[in-house]
């Protein structure tokens, strides 16, 4: 492909237009409120970013394969609750309890995936039911009360929620998790054989199956990966704030899907971009943070968030139409 053509297709790509909007947004917030780019505020944003961002990586792969998962917010809440109960009431070792939490997340993802692929029910219905089951389980086993989390420093706390001061910036280990997992996801989707399969399955499942691609197995593993990432994000969050709440992560599923589609991944499958998802995650984080700083009244946040998401999606759709015409 000639350089000129490649450049123009990059500029027209959805992740690029998202990036432009992100920069504009950051500039507007920075101009309206000086504190937006202060070390404290940036450190704050970077502390929250990985928790939803990590889930969004799994969701991007799942959406690219043509499925999605509404149970991630509930898994985000359940995993730390179960781990902490095992430690505090069961007297389990924290390492073993974390392992049990991992197994639980794998099981939830596997059940989602098996029902979607083997019984053929849409992932919307399956994971919506799973959301209720998982959230209900978290509420029931805690009787609705938040648990005190693991606040003794130790290997696992440092691993998941340790922090590091660089100058006046404070970085959590979770950011490294997010960066590492992002690089891995980019590699998978763009350069690995698996990524080729994921895109093909979402683009035309029958075609992929006709070429010997094990579509169901790939989907089941993607459901498992998404669930595990949601559980990991939940643990990171619980360790950071030293508390595990059964209602943690409520509504995260929609926020995560918004991040992914704002970044340019198609809800219908076949076209996914991890870079776009990272931009989308940064954008939603910046919006949530920025509108507070610029003085939008608290109860009006969601109006703005919703409108900006809608505007992004309209922009993607228009660009797509344009690209199809040229």
């Amino acid at each position: 492909m000639p350089v000129g053509k490649r450049r123009s297709s990059l500029i027209r790509s959805p992740q690029f237009s998202s990036l432009v909007i992100l920069i504009v947004l950051l500039a507007v917030f920075a101009i309206v409120d000086r504190n937006f780019l202060s070390p404290l505020n940036i450190s704050n944003m970077m502390a929250f970013l990985p928790e939803l961002g990590i889930i969004a990586l799994g969701m991007t792969l799942l959406l690219t394969a043509g499925e999605f998962d509404l149970s991630v917010g509930a898994v985000f809440g359940l995993a730390p609750v179960v781990v902490m109960l095992l430690v505090q009431n069961g007297g389990w070792d924290i390492g073993i309890a974390l392992l049990a939490g991992l197994v639980l997340c794998i099981a939830i993802g596997a059940i989602n995936g098996l029902i979607v692929t083997k019984i053929g029910i849409s992932s919307f219905l399956v994971t919506l039911s799973m959301l209720l089951v998982v959230r209900g389980a978290a509420l029931y086993i805690t009787q609705g009360f938040p648990l005190k989390s693991w606040d003794q420093p130790g290997f696992f706390v440092t691993l998941l929620a340790g922090s590091l001061n660089i100058g006046s910036f404070r970085f959590y280990t979770s950011l490294w998790w997010f960066i590492g997992l992002s690089l891995f996801a980019i590699y998978i989707l763009r350069y690995a054989k698996l990524g080729n399969w994921i895109s093909a399955i979402g683009s035309n499942r029958n075609a992929a199956v006709a070429r010997g691609v094990p579509a169901d197995t790939v989907k089941i593993w993607l459901f498992i990966a998404t669930s595990v990432l949601a559980g990991l994000a939940g643990m990171i969050s619980a360790f950071r704030i030293s508390a595990a709440s059964p209602v943690a992560g409520t509504g995260y599923e929609l926020e995560v899907i918004a991040m992914v589609v704002v970044g340019g991944t198609a809800l219908t499958g076949g076209r996914g971009t991890i870079l776009g998802t990272i931009v989308g995650a940064l954008m939603l984080r910046a919006i949530r943070n920025g509108i507070v700083l610029i003085g939008v009244p608290g109860l009006a946040y969601n109006i703005f968030v919703g409108l900006i998401i809608l505007a992004m999606l309209i922009l993607h759709a228009l660009l797509q139409k344009n690209a199809a015409r040229s």
């Binding site: 492909m1 590699y187 998978i188 350069y191 690995a192 054989k193 698996l194 080729n196 399969w197 895109s199 093909a200 979402g202 683009s203 035309n204 029958n206 075609a207 992929a208 199956v209 006709a210 070429r211 010997g212 691609v213 076949g270 076209r271």
Partner: protein, 258 residues
């Protein structure tokens, strides 16, 4: 030598019996046309051979050996390449990635599904395939399939079957939606493949095409094989009357008398 032999294949979808007792043989280096009206069971038959779904009953022999085809991968490994009626490409992938879908060239193969694609090899092989097939317009191996015309997509699917030099190539209505030039391209391809010693099973509704390229005709009706004709010994009207099952003998006599 029989390359492919099907014996009493049966397949039902719920109460619909799509295939009853279908048996046929495909020899080396011959083109067999599979004809029949809509819903006769042609696509069902070839989907069973290519591993899309298992048959309820019946045996499949490849080169005289009984085989069990449980997945599309099994069929491909036995040298059976199929171009399905409902297009078999992923529109959001590039031409190159489609050509090698399921058989990607990779580095570090021991990484399994996590192995990195050998992108240079992929692109090079793809442009060679495109050149060999001689698609009239020059296509870019990196172009997305969604930007191609129906005919161009069909040509890509055909070149993919060709590139893996399958023993048996099955084409389900390959000339559907094709322009005149592309149609001739497909028919030329069928002849080339036969001359190279491969066997072709061709499904089509266009009897004229059949008489141009096929050696033998097999007619299906309501899930059964109802007739077999050698192309050299038959004519268009006879075949048409067999397909519809209508009594066309009067018409036939009239036509012959002329």
């Amino acid at each position: 030598m029989d390359v492919l032999r099907l014996q009493n294949l049966q397949k039902s979808f719920g109460s619909v019996c799509a295939l009853k007792n279908a048996s046929l043989t495909l020899r080396e280096g011959e083109v067999v046309a599979l004809l029949g009206d809509n819903g006769a069971g042609k696509s069902t038959l070839i989907k069973a051979i290519s591993g899309v779904f298992p048959v309820d009953r019946g045996d499949i022999f490849v080169r005289g050996e009984k085989v069990s085809i449980r997945s599309t991968r099994d069929a491909m490994d036995l040298g059976i390449e199929t171009i399905h009626q409902d297009t078999s490409l992923a529109p959001d992938l590039s031409i190159a990635r489609n050509l090698f879908l399921g058989r990607e060239p990779v580095n570090f193969g021991w990484l399994g599904v996590f192995a990195p694609l050998d992108l240079a090899k992929l692109r090079k092989a793809a442009s060679e395939v495109l050149k060999r097939v001689g698609i009239s317009k020059k296509l870019d191996a990196d172009a997305l399939v969604s930007t191609l015309s129906g005919g161009e997509r069909q040509s890509i699917a055909i070149s993919r079957a060709m590139q893996f030099a399958a023993k048996v190539i099955i084409l389900d209505e390959p000339t559907n939606n094709l322009g005149v030039e592309e149609t001739h391209g497909v028919l030329r391809f069928v002849k080339e493949v036969r001359d190279a010693g491969h066997s072709v099973l061709l499904i089509t509704h266009n009897i004229h095409h059949v008489f141009q390229v096929a050696d033998r005709i097999i007619v299906m009706r309501r899930g059964e094989i109802v007739a077999e004709q050698i192309v050299a010994d038959t004519d268009l009207l006879t075949v048409e009357s067999i397909i519809t099952g209508a009594d066309m003998s009067a018409l036939l006599k009239e036509a012959r008398a002329k």
